[in-house]
Symmetry: C2
């Protein structure tokens, strides 16, 4: 049932429909996912209760003892609240009360955190973001036990803990609270939910519409500006995951308390889109590691347990159940119970992982992420082209970057963030200096670098120009993305076509990569490719640095690259092959006049802050207009158990490129003497037709990309 | 039933009790493991039949097309034989016949293989070893179909294929056949089984006792010399796995044809011991990668499917069933059927993985491998001290080396072999030059290097001196190994004590490492530690090579080591911490006057033949007598999903070493102010008692190692 507006001295739970889980006790046994969660939470909260209340004076940065204790406390508080509701066991309410009374003693006397760095200082934590997270968890736990507390305790906790926190995080932190940013979302959510629990509509209104209640800031404005019409979050998948939690939890609380707002229908149901888009932005359950991202983040996180449960409760979409099944987890809320019930009833359907274009920008006009999936399976190849806007302060200078997953692995990689989350010895778990000097720089990505500098001079505030997604095709024989970027480098426009080419007999598709540059003056153009695997062979001779290993450059990320070898391929031997998890990958280039550099990250790294990962770099010197032409071919299999190798040789015999009028013609000659021609027209209008003479015969196609199978080698047509 | 001696024109199967599986057909359905195997084999053989007979003229080296085809052929032949027996489907017998008739045409005309390298040339393959493997598989397949063939085909195949092969591999290859070596075992097994099938006792006798039938060579002599009394194989676990197959298969064939030989009881049941010892030589199912070993080799290989099935059929030990369960595979033989039946009946019991000393050498006097297990689980810590003899040509110069597994991972590592098995672009899959220049060298291991040279000058033929295993204790509070080595370096004796120290509250044990050196003159002593993980922090200052990376030395493996940094720890800060899979490892040294070198393998590697892996090296210059004193402490946990870190700080406050008389006293001071003292006496007699005054109180213990818990820090006792 929807909740009626509560009176001021009413103390019953308001954030969720608590009645749905009240006193469930042993009734959960038919829903194993929920029961497992209950057992896990009991174990964890019982241990916290046994350890006793510990509310230390804040002292340590991320990963330190007081930091971790306050994190454990909000988790325990949240858990105790849920457990009290589900089991009716008063000990859980007493524990939450005792802990909150300890906070009521500590909190009012706190000033800025002693370990505060350059970001907004918190009181319990080194940054106020963590304080907001504390409030989001804490207020949920408190809401669940509040009606079990004597009025004087309730008053003390209301005023000395939650109202003070909400005040500090709202009017006390205007710069954070009124931002359009995920830190603000956490603050808005914590403050707004506190408003519902304290029956204080003023706090709720500020959370929804900003401190001045004008709607220029606050939760609703963030829903307008931080998500694209496709539910893509401005900072990218990693932060989408992180940001999602306050969005979905606060939305659920708004829905419970002010159903008339129809918050889940707001802006064409953007909250629900955001949940699905988060899931689409993964491979094997792991988020695409664009921008400041930790590569070990998967759907198995608290944020997504909440999002899946809330999304399922709202939509009853059975595809979300299969995600919960993969997660093997849910949450101890009425929504989590619904998920567990439906799973137990066998209602799960596979999640429809698919190719899609996720537009970026509030209006969907700032480029986007093009996801090309060879299939919905966890081992199917996925190519992702990152043609988005900057993504604010956590954005990387990586316009027209791409990554590739194949055979269940990341093959063409993005470094993600230079950070050891929560590891105190690594700068307290914060972003490391190498995040600026390496991870964000253009050369750390698989995209064009001009004159050894980064896009926009690596200044994100001036990185306002965005790519144009000119074409996208997600299925059929011609799958690909064409995008163009101007303004990242003065006087330089570059356009990239990435085509995922399914070929009969090949275990997974080949990837064609055509990157054209138009510059206003001669420059050095570099196109790096960061890959995972062990180098097996090169088709061209190498000049190797075997006894001293130099760095590639002096700045803009180049100082972090060791050079192992360089080489100058002839037209017919520009190939590098590596192996990853038993599969071979041949990277073939048809870039005229190119020099190849092979090396590894990790130079200028006296504190061992970087992972050491290999790269290949195509270099063109003194070029103005140029085309980088590359082909990546997965092939073969080495089976360690059976000691057999199949297809270690590439199926490609030749790879050439020519330009005819405004059409780029890329020809893959196969070992069996047949050939595949891919023609890419300058004109990207999907309705326009083009013609080309191949082997003496005129061939036509519509839209920018045409594909033609030739039974025998294709000769020059003129 | 045991098989009666067959008459010469009898053609029924003799290698196994074929009646047990004859015409089973759908009866296997209650035994899922066998049924799955049947399905798999049908799929594979049916595909081979569909592809048609392809018996090419031998041309390519390992990994090449003709190599792989002949491998596929012997697998198909074996499979067709088993399938014919089980299903009674004549098409399988016809396919085997047709293929063998093609071999009967090809084989007689073959000379030495055109791609033969420096090893003994085969005819079908580049080395005769592969020909022997072909024969072992081929004769089993042939035995199964022989009674279905017309006499003239049988005669043709008997004479033109099998007798010729057996002749070539025995009298035609005396140097291989009469060796004491796994290559000879394959030859002996193939020839001996061919003897049984052709009813030719002369071939059998040669296989058992050598070409001159004196017993100085042949299968029985190999059982005497290649295995220790504990069933440890001279070349180490990787080759033990490989070698096991001909031993167990030929043993089963001998048992079937000459039960009076009691082959499974031979030499105190050494064949059965060898099977169990192979399994004990694994972690998480993967073999300890000592000597020339590929680290990706697990129990999931054909050799071990055969060994487990044959071992189970002979002993009915239910622990072997749990191994079959983990393998998820078995073989299509009567023995495999027994395994599948017993598994289906729920008879499996956990395999008793345990601490043990596996002695090396025919008499068990050539040192051994000391395995210290913290428990039988797949994530329990395992320390392995390698105190064995050389292990012939595939042996590494690694006396008193050690490795460590923890938390399911290899933590202190052995490089294994420099080789890309079956990958043609890497020297045809053969051992690479770096196997000599790096992988075998002492510095590639975690043991003492004197004056930047390898043990025995890296000459295996002169590497006859073996370690003395002075003490071993596999369970209780004091688990450890003490071994001593003399003769690896002129004038140098070194002794190493490794103690696995379980500590209350710690998730897994700490490892104490005391390596004492006594030399006849001043020298440079290096003690490398190769580890897996990402470096987090050092307690001492580093001098780093950030813009050019030099190599550590010029030869003996040193040329393959890049130097990232060096440092000189003070007595209280000699600690390096890394993280692997969310767990921290602190390596603490109390070696007086030590210089630390941090770096990575991969220098002088123009063909990218090496993996790049980090190392720490302790260096003492100008020393004569010295002690390397180290402590490795696993601690804490970073949980990426929950974003929590626990115990990232070491529990150790101090680590000191002193010598009192003939006792080394190592003291670990804990952060809670208590201390643990480990005393290691020079006298390793387990019956002798020792006394030490600690904190003013006399403490006694028996055997070399004593352990004492001190409630407060232990002061110098004098
Ligand atoms: Zn990036
Ligand atoms: Zn080794």
């Amino acid at each position: 049932p929807a909740h009626a507006a509560p009176s001021a001295d009413d103390a019953h739970p308001v954030l969720t429909n608590a009645a749905a889980i009240s006193g469930l006790g042993a009734q959960t046994e038919g829903y194993p996912l929920f029961t497992a969660e209950l057992t896990r939470m009991r174990k964890s909260v019982d241990a916290a209760m046994k350890a006793g209340i510990d509310v230390p004076v804040p002292k340590d940065p991320g990963g330190g003892a007081t930091h971790e204790q306050h994190k454990r406390n909000y988790m325990a508080l949240y858990g105790a609240g849920m457990l009290y509701r589900i089991t009716g066991d008063k000990r859980y309410a007493d524990f939450a009360r005792d802990m909150l009374l300890a906070y009521a003693k500590l909190y009012p006397g706190l000033g800025p955190h002693p370990a505060a760095a350059n970001e907004a200082a918190g009181r319990l934590f080194w940054q106020s973001l963590n304080d907001s997270v504390w409030l989001v968890y804490g207020i949920q736990g408190y809401d669940a036990v509040r009606d079990a507390l004597p009025p004087q305790d309730r008053k003390m906790i209301d005023e000395q803990v939650f109202r003070r926190m909400a005040t500090f995080l709202s009017t006390g932190s205007p710069k954070v609270f009124d931002r359009i940013h995920n830190h603000a979302t956490w603050a808005n959510a914590g403050v707004g939910m506190t408003g519902y629990v304290l029956r204080d509509q003023d706090l709720v209104d500020k959370a929804l519409k900003g401190l001045d209640k004008s709607g220029k800031a606050g939760f609703l404005r963030q829903l307008d500006l931080l998500f694209s019409p496709d539910g893509y979050y401005a900072e990218g998948p990693y932060y989408q995951r992180y940001a999602l939690q306050p969005f979905v939890i606060f939305a659920a609380a708004i829905d419970a308390n002010e159903p008339q707002r129809r918050i889940f229908e707001y802006r064409d149901a953007v909250v629900l889109k955001a949940i699905r888009t988060s899931i689409q932005s993964t491979y094997g359950g792991y988020f695409f590691p664009f921008n400041d991202a930790m590569p070990d983040k998967s759907l198995k996180t608290e944020e997504l347990y909440q999002a899946v449960a809330i999304g399922y409760a709202k939509t009853h979409d059975p595809a979300l159940l299969s995600i919960a099944q993969w997660q093997g987890r849910t949450v101890l809320t009425p929504q989590g119970l619904e998920v567990a019930r439906a799973l137990a009833a066998g209602k799960a359907k596979p999640f429809p992982f698919t190719s899609l274009l996720l537009r970026d920008g509030p209006d969907g006009n700032d480029g986007g992420i093009a996801v090309l999936r060879d299939g919905p399976g966890t081992k199917d190849q996925v190519l992702v082209a990152k043609n988005t806007a900057q993504g604010m302060g956590h954005g990387h200078f990586d316009r027209l970057n791409w990554i590739l997953y194949d055979n269940g692995r990341a093959i063409v990689t993005d470094y993600g963030a230079a950070r050891f989350l929560n590891i105190e010895a690594k700068d307290g778990g914060r972003y490391l200096p190498e995040n600026e000097s390496w991870a964000k720089q253009t050369v750390a990505h698989n995209t064009l670098v001009v004159d050894e500098t980064s896009q926009f001079g690596a200044n994100w505030k001036s990185a306002t120009a965005t790519p144009h997604q000119l074409w996208f095709s997600g299925d059929g024989q011609i799958r690909g993305s064409i995008a163009e970027m101007a303004g990242a480098y003065p006087g330089v426009t570059f356009r990239r076509a990435l085509v995922q080419l399914s070929v009969k007999g090949a275990k997974s598709p080949l990837v064609l990569d055509l990157l054209r540059v138009n510059g206003s003056k001669a420059a050095r153009y570099d196109l790096p490719l960061h890959y995972a695997g062990h180098l097996i062979d090169t088709g061209f001779a190498l000049k190797s640095n075997v006894t001293t290993r130099p760095v590639l450059g002096q700045a803009n990320g180049y100082q972090h690259l060791w050079v192992d070898a360089t080489g100058t391929p002839a037209p017919d031997n520009g190939v590098v092959t590596w192996i990853e998890d038993g599969r071979f990958y041949s990277y073939r280039v048809a870039t005229p006049g190119v020099t190849m550099v092979l090396g590894e990250s990790g130079a200028n790294d006296p504190r061992f802050n970087l992972r050491r990962e290999p790269f290949i770099l195509q270099r063109l010197d003194g070029a103005r207009d140029a085309a980088f032409v590359s082909l990546l071919e997965p092939h073969g299999r080495y089976d360690a158990a059976a000691e057999t190798t199949t297809g270690s040789e590439s199926a490609v015999r030749s790879f050439t490129h020519r330009r005819e009028g405004d059409v780029d013609v890329l020809t893959i000659g196969w070992r069996n003497a047949a050939a595949t021609v891919v023609a890419i027209a300058e004109d990207t209008d999907p309705a326009h037709a083009h013609t080309l003479v191949l082997n003496g015969k005129a061939q036509s196609w519509k839209g920018p990309v045409g594909r033609f199978e030739m039974p025998k080698p294709e000769g020059k047509s003129r």
